[in-house]
């Protein structure tokens, strides 16, 4: 990941370089986005949506989870308030992401924040926050986001169209284990960010909470676990700070 970053003290990167670095950063995720996007196209048609509605829904929500859950609810004949509310609840996790990004987007113009927000999905958030925190993304931030989310967006929509044209000939994503690469990438990010015991406490408590909260509907367990993990990690940090007021916080480097 760091092989392509400029050395410290080098001249600031050109807009083009930042855009390409963004696209490169989400390239590994294509391994999962391609089969999942194709599966989405198939699922839309088999849920009884028209081709226009399948692609339109995919383009509008820009979220694999919201799209798949939406198809399932429409196929079940759920009422439109239920579908809208479910989409909103699924979006709660994204609220965390955009809140975390607040300190880093001060200089990003308002109209570019629309692009940033629209493209803000799990993968994009995690590659971007890593670079923003390490000070490796300081110039033309909006172009990094454009490259990172643009690549995934265009790929996903192309694959949706491919999936629609394939009809029912596509194999089951879960049966083939094609969902594992994204999980592996998230695990690798966890391991790399795990630099002290407070992060371990946050990870452990979030993991236990999400497993205990599996019965909750609409992914609410994920939101609850994220809150518990963040509170535990921050609580550990605040407690140690109080005990050792002079302890240096300089070497902190979380996720």
């Amino acid at each position: 990941m760091s092989a392509t970053d400029p050395p410290p003290g080098a001249p600031p990167p050109t807009p083009r370089q930042v855009f390409l670095a963004g696209a490169r950063s989400t390239m590994p995720f294509l391994a999962s986005a391609i089969p999942m996007g194709i599966a989405g196209g198939v699922l839309g048609l088999s849920s009884g949506l028209s081709e226009f509605a399948t692609l339109g829904l995919a383009m509008a929500v820009n979220s694999g989870t919201a799209q798949f859950v939406g198809f399932a609810l429409i196929a079940d004949g759920a009422s439109w308030p239920a579908i809208i509310l479910t989409t909103l609840i699924l979006g709660l996790r994204m609220l965390l992401y955009s809140t975390i990004l607040i300190p880093y987007v001060k200089e990003v113009p308002q109209r570019w924040r629309i692009v940033l927000g629209f493209g803000l999905i799990d993968e994009v958030f995690f590659v971007a926050i890593d670079r923003l925190r390490n000070g490796r993304l300081t110039h033309h931030k909006h172009l990094f986001f454009l490259g990172a989310s643009g690549l995934l967006y265009v790929t996903w929509m192309t694959c949706t169209v491919i999936g629609m044209s394939l009809g029912s000939a596509v194999p089951d994503v879960e049966k083939l284990g094609l969902d594992f690469p994204v999980t592996a990438m998230f695990i690798a990010m966890l391991a790399i960010g795990l630099t002290n015991w407070r992060v371990a406490a946050a990870i452990g408590s979030a993991g236990v909470t999400v497993m205990l909260a599996q019965g909750l509907p609409y992914n609410l367990g994920v939101v609850l676990a994220a809150i518990v993990g963040a509170v535990v990690g921050a609580g550990c940090e605040l407690a140690t700070r109080r005990n050792q007021p002079k302890a240096s916080e300089q070497k902190e480097n979380v996720a």
């Binding site: 629209f118 592996a184 690798a188 990870i203 993991g207 921050a234 996720a255």
Partner: protein, 106 residues
């Protein structure tokens, strides 16, 4: 027509949570406690996504066994990441371990 309205509504519900904090709050200083909380949110979210994906891959209860390739792949990825601290390397090793154990388990 009503499908079009539904899609627009879903799009807005998906977009607004990601956009509104960026539009309204950006540029303001957040309280120190909030910043500390936000520092630990990414690992907590990742853990919340990863644990069920690994432990309950089929959605039928916890499968913490060596016959679950997601557990094997997950543990190998994590170990490789802790040792190497390199993203693509540990991801590749983990995915290889996952498919190998799937193939062995059959």
């Amino acid at each position: 027509m009503s499908m079009l309205l539904l899609i627009i509504g879903m799009g807005l519900c998906s977009f607004l949570p990601r956009y509104l904090p960026l539009a309204v709050l950006a540029g303001r200083e957040l309280p120190a406690v909030v910043e500390t909380l936000l520092k630990y949110t990414p690992p907590a979210v990742l853990a919340a996504l990863v644990f069920p994906a690994v432990l309950t891959p089929s959605g039928k209860g916890i499968e913490l066994t060596l016959a679950n390739p997601y557990v094997i792949g997950g543990v190998v990825t994590f170990a490789a990441g802790m040792v190497s601290k390199r993203f693509l390397l540990s991801t590749s090793i983990g995915i290889a371990a996952f498919y190998m154990s799937r193939w062995l388990i059959g």
